[in-house]
Amino acid sequence: MLELYPGELDVDKIFAKWRAWGEDKNYGAFITFVGTVRQEDDIEGLSFDVYEPILRSWFDSWQQRARERGAVLRMAHSIGNVPVHTSSYMAAVFSPKRRVALELIEEFVEDFKANAPIWKYDLKGGQRIYARDRSQKIEGSGLLDNPQ
């Protein structure tokens, strides 16, 4: 249910695949979130590093939480370069009822931003520049700094 792709996502194809997967499973609500690279600060695109082992265990723990509410999560993310106006991130919730789907997509996307082990770089003038100012420290950061 977690898919990683080199470069930009084929959004229509992934959407259609997910929808077809869900269509005979009696889910009443299906929500998708698509994140697209915006043109700003003269960037040519973004680039991503992903640390897959921890990303998978993070995703699996969310899948478990979703399952306890009768829902299923899906996610796709790019690795490497993604041009402006193309998409690097998709997330989806299938659930019997709309309330759970609306709540889960929000919780999942927000926690993704805060904790998924993915690093973002601006592509600018052929350089790959770590987007430090838009990045968030993972909870528990600083553990190894000045231990007593």
Partner: protein
Amino acid sequence: MVRVEFLGPIGLAPREVEARSLKELAKELSKDPEVKKWLSECAVAVNDKIVKDIDTPLKEGDKVALLPPVCGG
């Protein structure tokens, strides 16, 4: 020896360090200014599990990863 990996933008090669706990590892890593400057903003995973206890013991062959601030999506 434990293997230390520096993820994402840290851009350093993995290294083998002698340490029997995270506290010992922290002391070792602090000696290198190139690593030291990342410590205040990195989370730590032992064998791909994020840990929050500086007294976490380490054993031969453990893998420790440093995770700098993230931004997916």
